[in-house]
Symmetry: C2
Subunit: 342 residues, 2 copies
DNA sequence: TTGTAGGCGTTATCAA
DNA sequence: TTGATAACGCCTACAA
């Protein structure tokens, strides 16, 4: 084993087996070219020495690695881990490893990861960026590292992207509430700097307009972040209004927010959906596990991931690759939180 | 930039700047040894060529990498991502990158990751293994790659481990319910093959015994997995019993299970905590966000991660390192799901 | 202050 | 079938 300081190399194996270094390499890479007897001798030497191939050296020689990386915005958000699952499966099919890097909304950390990954010469980088306009997102591909943007879009054609139609998602959520007869609807989410927030709100406005209602039918409740506490807070603000003018339904920019809202409303004695119908967004597992199971806009999370991974892999391998902007369409999962009282 | 096929190397930079290769290296590693004028010339050449250090080559030369990896059981479980956060922070302090690898309960995937990481010569591996007895967990350290086992324990002294005292956790959960006066308590969880399930059950039994109650005061409701649907199912089984002999409280092996149980019980018209008090385990964020906020056993997740990372870093760097088995003590967070009716 | 040379571990080419 | 050798890109002695 590693009794001596350094790990066994092909050279050590060759010496131990009494063959040349080239032969050891052949055993590793073209075993059919080696006679059975020497092959066995070499394999035994490898076992005895605890030989482990040095991927670093292989890579240096080969010029590229066998890994992909996903720089994710928030590993604690189930949405992103589901996306990552899709990537893992696609990566496995291509015999690549996927490393997850959690930027956790910290710009410096994201930049540090991107830098390391580029230096590491990974085959490709998948990223849900903090800021889709970050220059690194163009620099990496310009220098040869394929980048695919996930769950965000950009107009530029410097890389592929895979996203979901948030305008449509916002629209179907609002349409659902309108069809149930709600005419005062709260839109809960923010800050508006987040593209998703803007797009979903835009979709909701389209639905309101199409229903022939005035824009004021939509009450925008801005939050500071998409978190449970912010959802609770929005609930408190909602309940502070006199019942007469209070919205009868709320659509939230994501499920986490919706869960916070639900908790506060039920805690304050409201009945969901009778007093307040609630729609979430993302359809995370906990949405259906809520005490009042949440109606939610579902995105094809696994597919987003696998498609994105396929795109980087293609870009890395196919010289004739051309960039693609994939846009998936979300759908609505109706549950008890909006069910029309029977 | 990368117009030509290959990425710019120090050699290219040297040629472009009209200096020798060693000078470029000095600019990179010992800038103070280079005159300002040449340094600027070199830096400009690097910028023009879009030079990116090849970490692979550095590593080969240096013999070790600047990365740590955490092979996690389930990236979708918030508990593990919180642990990972702790590791990230510790890794950052040591100027190391942390890669997350999600085995997702698949033994082949776990083995594949371990293999790749070893070949990649990472500085150290953190892992919550599917099977703590897996031979690879001893082989890697034997060959020189430090391994720290997280949230599991082993008797062997071949590596460090960081875990939480599950017997104690089970005990304080049960004690809390006993103190509230409950005398028929359901223990929900399984399969028993999972060490955590066994330990927490053992702790609960200790508490029951210490309270002077017969072992039969604890009703074990075995589940097939620690998931929301299994929690719901357990709820249905619980409710199927006649009220007279039905437990008045339930402690669950984790929060996810507890959330499922809560959902089903409330859905079937029970009042929590009046008809059934519920204690979860892990204190995930969604536990406090439940409609009836969940009492839960909290583990020092962040600390588990940072301590584990510190241990691998130490093992990788300090020749005098000796293995340590760290055991943290969990505590109880009391919320509405067990609050004594006022 | 700058340049030269050797080697990290692997693989592929070519010769024996 | 096997063996010797030259790269891959970088870093560090050491020499100039």
């Amino acid at each position: 084993m590693s009794r001596s300081g350094h790990a066994a190399s092909v050279k050590d194996v060759a010496a131990a087996a009494g063959v040349s270094l080239g032969t050891v390499s052949n055993v590793l890479n073209r075993p059919e070219r080696v006679s059975t007897s020497t092959r066995e001798r070499v394999e035994q030497a490898m076992a005895e020495l605890g030989f482990v191939r040095n991927e670093t050296a292989r890579q240096l020689r080969a010029g590229s690695s066998r890994t992909l990386a996903y720089v994710m915005l928030d590993a604690g958000n189930p949405f992103f881990t589901d996306v990552a699952h899709g990537m893992e499966d696609a990566a496995e099919d291509a015999d690549l490893s996927l490393f997850l890097c959690n930027s956790n909304h910290l710009p410096e950390r994201e930049a540090a990861y991107l830098g390391r990954l580029e230096q590491q010469r990974v085959q490709g980088v998948l990223i849900t960026p903090i800021d889709p306009e970050h220059p690194l997102l163009e620099e990496l591909p310009a220098r040869g590292t394929p980048v695919v943007v996930v769950d965000r879009t950009r107009d530029v054609e410097t890389h592929c992207s895979v996203a979901v139609d948030d305008v449509h998602g916002g629209r179907i959520a609002a349409e659902h509430l309108l069809e149930l007869g709600h005419e005062r609807i709260a839109f809960v989410g923010g800050p508006e700097a987040i593209g998703q927030v803007r797009d979903r709100l835009a979709g909701a406005r389209l639905a309101v307009e199409a229903a022939g209602l005035p824009p004021s039918a939509l009450h925008v409740l801005t939050t500071d972040a998409l978190t449970v506490p912010q959802g609770r807070d929005a609930g408190a603000r909602l309940l502070a209004r006199p019942a007469r003018e209070r919205p009868t339904a709320a659509m939230c920019v994501n499920d986490v927010l919706a869960l916070g809202l639900l908790q506060r409303c039920v805690g304050l004695g409201l009945d969901v959906p009778d007093d307040l119908a609630i729609v979430g967004y993302d359809d995370i597992d906990f949405a259906s596990a809520a005490t009042v199971p949440l109606t939610s806009v579902r995105q094809p999370r696994h597919l987003i991931g696998s498609k994105a991974a396929e795109l980087v892999i293609d870009e890395a391998g196919d010289p004739g690759h051309h960039h693609e902007q994939v846009l998936f369409t979300p759908d609505l999962v109706v549950r008890a939180s909006t069910r029309r009282p029977a």
